[in-house]
């Protein structure tokens, strides 16, 4: 099943280990992650479940297309990376 890995910058705020979660698309896999780690949800998506503006999700080496619906499909051996955009001061 797909493996999800989170930016190390999240670890400063809460425990976010790599997880293997079943799902046919990014949204399904993230729903599985959030079921195990409820507080993690609001760090990745907004109130309506859309990817946060400054969070990026890659499937293997490609950034996902559907940031609002998270419908990008996954294969069982895909790796999903949750990164943050770079900004601040």
């Amino acid at each position: 099943m797909p493996r999800v890995t989170f930016t190390a910058n999240l670890q400063r705020h809460l425990d976010a280990p790599s997880l293997e979660v079943d799902g046919a698309c990014v949204g399904e896999v993230l729903a599985g992650v959030f079921a195990r780690k409820p507080l993690l949800r609001s760090y990745i998506v907004d109130d309506q479940g859309r990817l946060r503006r400054h969070v990026n999700v890659f499937v293997n080496s490609a950034m996902i297309v559907d940031r609002d619906g998270l419908g990008d499909t996954l294969r069982a051996d895909d790796e999903v990376f949750i990164f943050q955009a770079l900004s601040g001061g």
């Binding site: 910058n9 999240l10 705020h13 809460l14 507080l39 609001s42 760090y43 990745i44 907004d46 109130d47 309506q48 479940g49 859309r50 946060r52 400054h54 969070v55 943050q84 955009a85 900004s87 601040g88």
Partner: protein, 364 residues
């Protein structure tokens, strides 16, 4: 006992102990923007709202005075909530702008004002939050707009100490709203406020006013002071009607106001030049105080920088203690002062904090 001060900043929450003789001590969240802070006087619990940027708004609670913090679910709009207009996105909280406690007769009750302009209610010390739909569904909300932020927001929540069902809240830019039934229904107050940034026939429209900050006198909460985008106003009927105060010098523009806890005629303000130039007038950083309801003002600068100062005090970054004798303020430049003798004598406590969002005297 020497005062203790909480200081919420762009890069963490700090505590100043010993009346300022000790350096500010980090109380958590070092490096993270703390957008709102609340010490619940009913039980001493601390609440800190964060705006993590990339990772959204967060809420934490401490029951051991900041030694440890527990993350709580932050106020959020219900999933599936419709967008206001076709083509727009459905709402999501982008900032917790203010937190307030309910009355002693409402254990567990908290209020949160957010951007976009929504009020959230908790009855279990922040474990769960519910959108106050009676306010969100006001038809005139479509007229509100952002002031300084893209979306309108609720920054001031005054719960009546005599009757905790009575609430006065301020929205930039959505006016002054009143409830007398614990938030079940709302009335638009703010008559008499004047918005020079609007076309002439809408200057007096209460719907689109920008009250930068509201502060009610604790002992006489029918007196509500308003530092508005376009000047200083006072209400003597709980926020329904306001009169403009014209004689504050050197300026009536600013963000913060503090109301004396006992004397409804006394209030403090921190002026800047004007909306298009948000720095102290002629580089002299001062506080203005009225002790006669706004008939006259004193300009208080003793101990404050009187040359080449560019400090600006945001709406939550001025506080007065429970006795009405000491004030505290922090600036966007990261300076922190305490003002003794009702603000007549100021002492710099730190010049090197991150930009200050809020100061609050410890109450418990």
């Amino acid at each position: 006992m020497a005062e203790e001060l909480f200081v919420a900043t762009r890069k963490g929450l700090f505590l100043v102990e010993g009346g300022g003789r000790q350096a500010p001590r980090n109380l958590g969240f070092l490096g993270d923007p703390v957008s709102a802070f609340l010490e619940d006087r009913r039980d001493g619990t601390l609440y800190a709202a964060l705006n993590l940027g990339h990772f959204g708004v967060k809420l934490h609670r401490s029951e051991d005075f900041g030694a440890t913090w527990t993350e709580l679910p932050a106020p959020a709009f219900p999933v599936g909530m419709p967008a206001d207009k076709e083509g727009e996105k459905a709402p999501s909280v982008s900032l917790i702008w203010t937190l307030a406690a309910g009355g002693p007769d409402q254990p567990g009750r908290l209020w949160a004002g957010t951007i976009p302009g929504a009020l959230f209610r908790s009855d279990d010390r922040g474990e769960t939050w519910h959108l106050v739909e009676s306010l969100w569904n006001q038809p005139s909300r479509s007229e509100w707009f952002g002031g300084g932020y893209d979306d309108p927001g609720i920054h001031s929540l005054c719960v009546d100490p005599r009757d905790s069902r009575k609430i006065v809240l301020g929205i930039s830019c959505g006016g002054v709203w009143l409830s007398e039934d614990d938030g079940a229904s709302w009335t638009l107050g703010g008559k008499g406020l004047a918005a020079a940034y609007m076309p002439p026939d809408r200057v007096d429209d209460p719907t689109i006013q920008d009250p930068h900050r509201l502060a009610a006198c604790a002992a006489a909460p029918e007196t509500v002071w308003c530092q508005h985008h376009c000047g200083i106003f006072r209400s003597d009927d709980g926020g329904r009607n306001f009169v403009q105060i014209h004689n504050a010098s050197p300026s009536a523009f600013g963000f913060a106001v503090a109301a004396h806890p006992d004397d409804p005629r006394t209030a403090w303000f921190v002026p800047a030049v004007k909306d298009a130039c948000r720095v102290p007038v002629e580089g002299r950083f001062v506080v203005t105080r009225t002790r006669d309801g706004g008939a006259s003002f004193e300009t208080l600068g003793e101990g404050l920088p009187q040359d080449a100062a560019y400090d600006l005090v945001y709406r939550h970054a001025l506080d007065v203690d429970a006795a009405g004798k000491s004030l505290a303020m922090g600036s966007t430049t990261g300076a922190l002062w305490i003002g003794r003798n009702g603000g007549a004598d100021w002492t710099l406590l730190s010049a090197h904090l991150p930009p200050v969002a809020q100061v609050a005297f410890r109450a418990t």
